[in-house]
Symmetry: C2
Subunit: 452 residues, 2 copies
């Protein structure tokens, strides 16, 4: 019997896909990274399916690439030659929702926004909201420790993860963490799995923290004649303790991309826009304070609104940014994060790199966190960015690290950031991380070559 | 040359203490756990001292017990026969305080409240505030992932730890994490070290997150005729999204202990007191909402105040609880944490265990987190609690786990909770944790026998 036949016979009917065209559609994420020729895709419907797949993979030493919805931006779910893809998308049940304890237990295939909506039926919310949250899954969010717009106030995915059910590489079940708000029994295995990009085990359920739905937000949008002024306004707002629930910065290039598409009436002198929200119970007052701080820091125009429709439009503008860029060309989406005080310097470095290498870079930032997404645009249809894009990206990463920053704030390393990994992670940390990897996955079958 | 002479000669003068009486004072924490006969205590003054000590210990296979201020409540810093105690108390410099980035870099010996005070010079605060924060150190807080009163709003120590400098068992330096608010490069080693009770490495500096100082708090105190009513009020307050910055529950036995000492005029029918705060910008309104919810849930008396002096008195009452109990006898301080909805059930189970075994148990709770500290009081001068205390504790832990809780919310496992560890941590998790331990400390010299 061929190994693949043993896999098919160990799983319920219809779980294993071997049609190369279908496999190919499961072998990619949202990046341009080209996959290899995987052996098969398993569409897991239960924890038992995951166990059977991993036992088989261990026995036959076959690499396994776990995936959620494939919305990743770092090539973390790209599958190579001979690998088996393990899709968790069909494991999409919310196993439990306990409003009084403000927790939910969700399977990895639950769409992030669906979990949020289910919580809202009970006056609660699931806070993490990566830009892709209408199509991304909880499992993928956990694998990358996804951030989002609200994380400036509510933290990243790790801050909402209390406990996990994980299938290890050899098929054993590991339960980590707890159902309680606090707990320090043993090492923090939950935190270790979150952000490990499928290299340590396959998450089959997560106990996550929910929070009471805050007040309807008050929103402001401010225009600035310089990026530096916008950066200064961000610093002032954060330092004043305004606790924005969202604080997004869009640069001129991004605004132009949106304007080209949707004609938003962009003014000639507008070099940056800041969109912020407060969902505090006195949010209107907080938004007014933030408006004042924008004006004090050189904003040329500020509008404050608490109308749901206007708020939706402003946030829609921000959520439109990535699609607007995809109209311009293929995109290398980067994700540097710097200490907040050097945000203007980092933006300056991005502009300089764009000019020096003749590359179009459009930047949006989760500015309250110092997390920037410079998007390097290049010609559609090319499978690999041209050398000038890599050169500009190299400059951006190098500068981010010089400024005390990190390569990736919320997207993960995947395969795209491996080339810069050694600049941030020293040899001792690398050795330790590979040691940890070997504890969980001694045969190195789980998403090999990713993350570390 | 004896091994100890090699240690002395590898360190600056005066770093190594060998007087048995002095060693003994460094061999204990705040519990009754009796130490053994350690070989020596090293009073480290620098990272180099830590490196030299660990290199020596690796060479000679000597167990090393790191310690901060010895305020631990689980025996985690208790030193056994032949061990070397490594005190980090003298490494007490705040290396950096960067207000614009809202971070500080602190050595492990910095007193927690001192870091908070230093931050407040710049309009910032260091949020974690274990009850011992005037005498505990940052290093000890990191080792146990300490919680505190404010963590109901601001999270535990792990939520404020961004990056660490660690000396590994073999003397190598490991840098983890980052200076930025977000970051997902590689596995979360920072989170792994926080709460690992000195078993994976010795932290010699921590980059921590600061936060803007919130508004002056509005405080309420509510008295209840039953613990169940108080528990219901807590649930209602949390569910209403009041976001208290503190939410402490004191049971009748605790109130009596305080009343015996300081005569607070305790009413006959008062079975529980709830003390809560809001530090929101509209805190007075939030406190009034919490007052209303207490009355709706059967409070017999509620007082709200925003006067700093009255606030100080109310919080002082809570901070007095532990000392009041120490007047009554020796204390076994426990630390179970349960899902918030079963807080009244857990309190009921504690009362039942006290009655069944004839043990005095006084309970305070960080009620907003479901984290209870039942304090088992027994005769002063006994080095070990009597069997009925262990029996009652056994019942309390078993019930906490049955209710979906955990053995320890914020104190750590140390040695005192090892006897119950297997009830919470399954065999796979145990094996994985020991595997991780072996990656960092293959010779098992770092605080052996603790935590896992």
């Amino acid at each position: 019997m061929r190994p693949i036949d043993a896999l098919v016979s160990s799983l319920p009917d219809g779980r294993v896909v071997t049609d190369p065209d279908v496999i190919d559609s499961y072998a990619r994420d949202r990046t341009f990274v080209a996959p290899g020729k995987p052996l098969a895709a398993v569409l897991a419907g239960s924890r038992d399916d995951v166990v059977a797949t991993l036992r088989w993979a261990s026995e036959h030493r076959v690499p396994v690439v776990p995936r959620g919805a494939g919305t990743g931006l770092a090539g973390g779910a790209t599958a190579g030659d001979g690998a088996v893809i393990l899709s968790l998308a069909r494991m999409d049940q919310i196993r439990e929702l306990a409003p009084a304890d403000e927790i939910a237990v969700a399977e990895p295939g639950v769409i992030t926004a669906d979990l949020d909506r289910a919580a809202r039926q009970h006056g609660l919310m699931y806070a993490p909201d990566p830009s892709s949250y209408e199509i991304s899954t909880i499992g993928g969010n956990l694998a990358t420790n996804a951030g989002g717009l609200r994380c400036v106030k509510y933290g990243v995915t790790r801050d909402s993860a209390l406990g996990l059910e994980v299938v290890l590489a050899d098929g054993r079940i590991l339960n980590t963490g707890r159902r309680t708000m606090k707990g320090v029994t043993g090492y923090d295995l939950t935190g270790l799995f979150v952000g490990s990009e499928g290299t340590l085990g396959v998450i089959t359920a997560a106990t996550v923290r929910l929070r009471p739905v805050p007040a309807a937000p008050a929103t402001f949008a401010a225009e600035f004649g310089s990026l530096r002024d916008a950066g200064a306004a961000v610093s002032a707002i954060m330092a004043a303790g305004c606790q924005p629930s969202l604080m997004e910065l869009l640069d001129r290039a991004t605004l132009e991309a949106i304007d080209d598409w949707r004609n938003i009436g962009l003014e000639a002198g507008t070099m940056a826009m800041l969109i912020g929200q407060s969902d505090a119970s006195d949010g209107q007052a907080a938004a007014a304070r933030m408006e004042r701080l924008c004006l004090d820091n050189g904003a040329t125009f500020v509008a404050v609104s608490s109308s749901p429709q206007e708020t939706e439009e402003l946030i829609g503008l921000r959520r439109m940014a990535y699609q607007a860029k995809e109209r311009l060309g293929a995109c290398l989406v980067e994700d540097v994060c710097v200490p907040r005080s050097v945000l203007p310097d980092m933006i300056g470095a991005i502009e300089a790199a764009a000019a020096r290498h003749g590359v179009r870079i459009c930047t949006v930032a989760h500015a309250g966190d110092g997390n920037l997404h410079p998007v390097f645009v290049f010609e559609h249809g090319t499978s690999e960015p041209p050398p000038e894009v890599w050169a500009a990206a190299d400059e951006v990463f190098t500068r981010a690290l010089e400024l005390g920053g990190t390569l990736t704030g919320e997207h993960g390393v995947g395969v795209l950031k491996r080339r810069w990994l050694a600049l941030e992670t020293g040899p001792v940390a690398r050795e330790v991380q590979h040691g940890i990897k070997a504890v969980f996955d001694p045969l190195n079958i789980l998403n090999p070559g990713k993350a570390i």
